[in-house]
Symmetry: C2
Subunit: 142 residues, 2 copies
């Protein structure tokens, strides 16, 4: 009789999905990538202002889970553009379910469109470049 | 000009939904209530074995958010049966999206049916009563 436990908690599809993206931030990163963002600076500049240490950790975790891939777009220091894999893009259906539930049951909430998610308001247009310039891929500290 | 910030992070329906149920456990509690569980002992007895301190905290949070209601089913000590509100039942669509994504993208995962979620295997039938007997409503410690 095998005592192998292939899953951390159970074989439940919901439990295992939540082990990957069940936190306050991961699905917001996926939302922003679906909206066309790709760099660390762009992601850090979202209206929710994800703390940069958490962003770096989530990018690593999402890449390890096959949800995103990072591709270098610059060397010295190397910087990465992140894109969603098909597995990551498929989370769009989960996001849509959250949008519908939130809009119906949390008064005043809205579906974040590409414009809002980009964070490109008059007050924030100067931010992405500076933030991006500090970024190297999480785990490849110089 | 108002400086009121009505939302903790942004008006995004996804972000605000995640502030309520964006964690590893809350949606599993909702899953189990959708599957017909109602008592603290039944919820604690799920295959994922939610730590009891976390279960107590999540029940409080879900009740504060209007997702569940607790109704006393016994006095001395008082014990509560939890049921989903319409707002809570509507999270079924979010769970369904997670089930579909998990089944498609995390090999070996399954949709947890009522039988599996009940945890009523031969080895565990004795557990719910004992666990339930210890329970009073979170926050109403004796």
């Amino acid at each position: 009789m095998s005592t192998t436990k292939p899953f951390a908690r159970s074989a439940c599809a919901v439990a295992n999905s939540l082990d990957v993206v069940g936190d306050k931030w991961s699905l917001l990163v996926v939302r922003d990538l679906l909206h066309g963002k790709s760099t660390y600076g762009e992601l850090a500049n979202s209206p929710e202002h994800i703390p940069t240490n958490i962003l770096a950790e989530r990018l690593k975790r999402l890449e390890a889970a096959g949800i995103i891939v990072g591709t270098p777009y610059q060397e010295r220091p190397v910087r990465y553009a992140y894109t969603l894999t098909p597995k990551g893009k498929a989370l769009g259906d989960v996001l849509l379910a959250f949008v519908r539930w939130g809009k119906q049951h949390i008064p005043g909430t809205v579906a974040m469109d590409r414009g809002k998610a980009s964070g490109k308001t008059a007050a924030s247009t100067a931010t992405p470049r500076r933030t991006r310039a500090r970024h190297t891929k999480p785990g490849s500290r110089q």
